[in-house]
């Protein structure tokens, strides 16, 4: 397992995987969008506004999935201190923040015509907003701490503390009386939405998962290259610093 988590092995694998991942993402997104706009019927209560669900719901799933990925990477950082785990965790944070932002904005754009308000401080909306703030906090943490190993440890601990928010988001609609509707896809007694609406939603879910995987692999590759570049810069600076005193010595020796 650790062999496959080798940064050099990962760079080679990413180069081979990315064209396939990007192609599969484009194909599933095209099928999902076609299904969302041309196959799925309008809802009997929401009308055409239900089409917002086909990006809102997958964004919400991916916002949580991305955080779960970061939590797994945080464990890798703390338990095995593996450099790729930290790179993967750091690379996932901006992607998760963007998916959470899309989830919040599309939810708000759906809420205005359906609920009559852009925002309510109910448990589901508030817990997703907290998730967004955690993502921003983690990004800020990596930017603030200069020592990369300290930043990795601090971010990993904060990520694992923030995991508590995931079950709160998932079960908030069951635990509290919220304006947000309860789960309609992942339920113990099966989905409650019509198959004609369910399959475009599931295809969009797969497309967003592939999109996240593609972006995450690309971003992790960037993080590995950024670290390699920093190491080279430090080596170059150290080489120059070693060369300079030697030069001074040689000039003082030649002085009369």
């Amino acid at each position: 397992m650790l062999k496959y988590a080798n940064p050099t092995f990962f760079l080679g694998l990413a180069g081979r995987l990315l064209p396939w991942l990007a192609g599969a993402t484009a194909l599933t997104l095209a099928i999902g969008m076609w299904g969302a706009f041309f196959y799925a019927p309008a809802d009997y209560q929401q009308g055409q506004t239900v089409r917002i669900m086909y990006i809102h719901v997958p964004s919400a799933w991916l916002a949580m999935f991305c955080y779960a990925t970061m939590a797994a990477s945080a464990l890798g950082t703390l338990v095995w201190r593996h450099p790729l785990a930290d790179a993967a965790q750091k690379a996932a944070a901006p992607i998760g923040a963007v998916f959470t932002f899309v989830c919040l904005v599309t939810g708000s754009l759906w809420g205005k015509p359906m609920w009559g308000t852009w925002w309510v401080w109910d448990a589901r909306l508030t817990s997703v907003l907290v998730l967004f703030v955690i993502y921003l906090g983690l990004i800020a943490l990596w930017q603030t701490i200069e020592d990369s190993s300290r930043a990795a440890r601090a971010a990993a601990i904060l990520t694992l503390v923030g995991v508590i928010n995931l079950p709160i988001i998932k079960f908030s609609v069951d635990w509290w009386n919220t304006l947000h509707q309860p789960a309609s896809v992942f339920r113990m007694d099966g989905p409650t939405i019509a198959p004609s609406m369910l399959w475009p939603l599931l295809v969009m879910g797969i497309a967003f998962t592939l999109l996240f995987t593609t972006l995450h692999v690309m971003s992790t590759r960037n993080e590995i290259l950024r670290r390699r570049l920093r190491r080279l810069a430090i080596q170059a600076a150290a080489g120059e610093a070693q060369a300079r005193p030697a030069h001074r010595l040689s000039t003082s020796e030649s002085a009369p």
């Binding site: 009308g47 089409r51 990006i55 901006p94 570049l229 170059a236």
Partner: protein, 52 residues
């Protein structure tokens, strides 16, 4: 289709495409920049190695 709701639907898709597309473009451009800078280091290393 209710025209007012059409605006909400379009706004949702446009914001999603701009946000996620912008992120993807940013990641790709960053990769190109890193590759360029690493190539410069590689060139400098080759120049040092080939120096008499």
């Amino acid at each position: 289709m209710n025209v007012a709701h059409l605006g909400f639907i379009l706004a949702s898709y446009i914001i999603a495409i701009v946000a996620i597309g912008g992120l993807a473009a940013g990641i790709w451009l960053e990769y190109r920049r890193l590759q360029r800078e690493l190539a410069q280091y590689g060139d400098a290393q080759r120049e040092r190695d080939s120096a008499p």
